[in-house]
Amino acid sequence: MSDGGHLLEVEDLHVSFDTDDGVVKAVDGVSFTVEPGRTLGIVGESGSGKSVANMTILGLTRADDANVSGRILFEGNDLAALDDEGLQGTRGNEIAMIFQDPLTSLHPFYKVGAQMTEAIQAHGDASDDEARERSIELLKLVGIPDAERRFGEYPHEFSGGMRQRVMIAMALTNDPKLLIADEPTTALDVTIQAQILRLIERLQAELGMAVIMITHDLGVIAEVADDVLVMYGGRVVEQGTRDEIFYDPQHPYTWGLLGSLTRTDRPRRSGRLAQIAGQPPSLIAPPDGCHFRPRCPHEFDKCPQVPGLEARSGTRDHLDRCWLTADQKRTLRVVDDGEIGLEEPAA
C-alpha cells in the first residue's frame, strides 16, 4: 500500500466449530496487523488457534459447521465479507499459503510441472508454453537445480526439502504481497530447515513480500520474525517486537515457553527445566477469565476476569493479557538461576 498503512488487519476474529462434543472455540477474539515487507511470527502450541486464524484469512475454514465473525481487511477490503468467488481474486494471487507437510500438499499422481502450470493458468490466461516457462523460472528462483528436468518429474522423486521448495515456488506464482507459512520447516531435517528459512528470507528481500510465519519453535521466531504474536487457547496473550518478546516478556505463558527451552549454545543447566505444569486448555470448555490461569503459579483473585490485550509494560505497541503490574512481572519472571522462567515465587 502506498499510504504506508497496514497490509493486513485482522479485527476481533472469532472462529468456532460445532462438533458432537460441543462448540470448539478455536479462535477467540484475535486482532493483529501485518505491515508490508515485514515478518510477523506467530508462536503457540497445538490448539492455540494459530493455524485456524490464518486459514480463516484465506477462507479455508468456511464450512457448514464453522462460525466466523470479525473483519479481515486486506489492503482495506474485508475478505470475511466476500463470497468464495470474490475471495479467489485475493487467495493464491495476493495472499499465498504454504503448509507443514509438503508431501500431502502435492498430488502424487501428477507431475510437478503439471501442478504448477495448473496453478498459473487458474489465476490468469497464460498459454501452455508461457506457463511452462514461468514454472521453470519459479523453480530456478527457489533454488531447484536442473529445473527443466525437474519440471517433468513426480513429487515422489523430490526430497522433503525440494518438495517444500516446489510449494514455495507455486505460492510465488502471482507475486503475492503476503505469504502465510504454516510450520513450513517442522517436517524437515535441521540442515534442510536452515536452507528453507534462508530461502524465505531471500525471497522476501527480493520480492518485498510480507510473511506470516506460524511456528511452535521460538528458534525459528528468533531467526526470521520482526514482530511476534504469542497465542494460547485461541487468544493472543502477548504481542510485541521480537526483542520485546525475548528480552522483556510480559505474559507468564511466554515466560514458561522461554524457560522450558533447551539451547544448543548453552551447557546443561544444573537444575530441571522450568516446565509449565498441566495441560493446554480444552477449547470446548475453557476456563473462565484468563485461559492460562489453571497452569499459572502467579494466579490471583483478578484472573477469573478476562484481561484485555493492552499495553501494560509502558511500551506503546507491546501488548499483553495479564493482570499483574509491570513491576510484579519484572520480579516474578526471574527464576532461581537468574533466567526468565515460570516458577512458583519464593515464599
Partner: protein, 370 residues
C-alpha cells in the same frame, strides 16, 4: 572380540581402544559396548525369485560404549541410521554382523529365551505416543504386560505395582482402567515410560521421546526422565534430532551421518569445539531462541540433501556436502581417531586444527543474558 568382520576399507577403532582413552568412565565402566556393528537391509527385486539388487547400509561399522549411569545422546538427520542402531542394539532387528555386550555379556547369538531375559534390563521408549500404545488395551494392561510376560507378578500384586508405576511417572493411579485415547500426548508418553520402567531396567533407549510433543510438555517429559535417572540410577541412550534437547540431557554425544558415527565425545567438547564439519553444520543449522545470540553468528548452511544409505558416497560420506572437502575426502575413508579427552572424529580436515575460524563464526558470541 575383534574377529567381527569389518566391511568398510577404513578400520574403525574397537571399543577397547575407545574405552582406554575415555576419561568419563568414572563410575564403574561401560554398561553397554557395541563393536563393529553392521546392519544392511537387502533391496530386493523380482516377482517370483527375490533377487538382491542392493543394500541399504543403515548402520555401517559402528562402535561405541555407554557408561553406567550416563546419558549418551545420539543425533543425526532422518535416514542416518540412528533408529536402526537403537533397535539393533536391543536386537529388535538382527544385526548383520558385529557384537554387543551388556554388562560384559555377549548379546549376539543368544537364543530367543535368553534374549528375552536379557531384555529385562534394556527397555525402549518410542517417539510416537499414539502409535506405540495399543488402543484396545487399558492402561493397566499396557503397563502390566511386561510384568505378566516375565511372570513377575499377577492379580492384585500386579495391579499394585502398575499403580505405583503410574504414580511414579506423574499419572493418576486411578486411571488404571482408562484407554490410551483418553490421554493427551504428554500423558501417553508417560504411559510409555511407565511401561519401560516396569521391569526395573538398567538401560533405557529413548528414540525421539519428545519430538512429537508440544514445547511445554517436552520440558515436563525431559524433567521426568531426568528425575527417574537420578532416582533409579538409569542409563540412557537418548536419540533426538533436536540438538538443544540433546545438549541438555547428555553426558556424551554421538553424531551419525549416513550409517556412520562421525564424531563422538563428551557433550561439552562436541558442542563447543566440534571437530567434524557435519557436527558444526548441524549445530549452526539450529536457530538459537535468543535473537541477539542468533544474529551474532554466521551459520554454515549446507547445500544439497542427505545422501541415500542405499548408495552412499565413497570414502568420506560427507564429502559431497562438505565445504572443506579436498581430493583425499573422496578417495580415502577417514578413520575415527582420538583428538584427546575421549573426543573422537572421522575427518581428514579436523576443524580445530585446520579451520578454527569456521567454528568461531558459526558459534554465537558471548550469549546475551536473557
Amino acid at each position: 572380540m575383534n574377529d567381527a568382520s569389518t566391511p568398510s576399507d577404513a578400520p574403525t577403532p574397537g571399543v577397547d581402544e575407545m574405552k582406554a582413552k575415555d576419561r568419563t568412565a568414572s563410575n564403574g565402566g561401560p554398561l553397554l559396548e557395541v563393536e563393529h556393528l553392521v546392519k544392511h537391509f537387502p533391496i530386493k527385486s523380482g516377482i517370483l525369485i527375490d533377487r538382491e539388487i542392493g543394500q541399504v547400509r543403515a548402520v555401517d561399522d559402528v562402535s561405541f560404549f555407554v557408561n553406567k549411569g550416563e546419558t549418551l545422546g545420539l543425533v543425526g538427520e532422518s535416514g542416518c541410521g540412528k533408529s536402526t542402531l537403537c533397535r539393533t542394539v536391543l536386537r529388535l532387528i538382527e544385526p548383520t554382523s558385529g557384537s554387543m555386550r551388556f554388562e560384559g555379556r555377549e548379546l549376539t547369538g543368544l537364543g530367543r529365551n535368553d534374549m528375552r531375559e536379557a531384555r529385562r534390563d534394556m527397555q525402549m521408549i518410542f517417539q510416537d505416543p499414539y502409535a506405540s500404545l495399543n488402543p484396545r488395551k487399558r492402561v493397566g494392561q499396557i503397563v502390566g504386560d511386561p510384568l505378566a510376560l516375565h511372570g513377575i507378578s499377577s492379580g492384585d500384586e500386579r495391579k499394585r505395582q502398575v499403580q505405583e508405576l503410574l504414580e511414579r511417572v506423574g499419572l493418576n493411579p486411578e486411571h488404571f482402567n482408562r484407554y490410551p485415547h483418553e490421554f493427551s500426548g504428554g500423558q501417553r508418553q508417560r504411559i510409555g515410560i511407565a511401561r519401560a520402567l516396569a521391569l526395573q531396567p538398567k538401560l533405557i533407549v529413548a528414540d525421539e521421546p519428545v519430538s512429537a510433543l508440544d514445547v511445554s510438555i517436552q520440558a515436563q517429559i525431559i524433567n521426568l526422565l531426568d528425575e527417574l535417572q537420578d532416582d533409579l540410577d538409569l542409563t540412557y541412550i537418548f536419540v533426538a534430532h533436536d540438538l538443544g534437547v540433546v545438549r541438555h540431557v547428555s553426558d556424551r554425544i554421538a553424531v551419525m551421518y549416513v550409517g556412520k558415527i562421525v564424531e563422538i565425545g563428551p557433550a561439552e567438547a562436541v558442542y563447543t569445539n566440534p571437530i567434524h564439519p557435519y557436527t558444526l553444520s548441524l549445530l549452526s543449522a539450529i536457530p538459537i531462541p535468543d535473537p541477539r545470540a542468533n544474529d551474532s553468528r554466521e551459520p554454515m548452511v549446507l547445500e544439497g540433501d542427505v545422501p541415500s544409505p542405499a548408495n552412499p558416497p565413497p570414502a568420506c560420506r560427507f564429502h559431497t556436502r562438505c565445504p572443506f572437502a579436498t581430493e583425499i575426502c573422496s578417495e580415502v575413508e577417514p578413520e575415527l581417531i582420538d583428538h584427546g579427552g575421549g573426543h573422537w572424529a572421522a575427518c581428514h580436515h579436523p576443524l580445530h586444527r585446520e579451520h578454527p575460524e569456521a567454528v568461531r563464526e558459526a558459534t554465537p558470541g558471548e550469549g546475551t543474558p536473557t
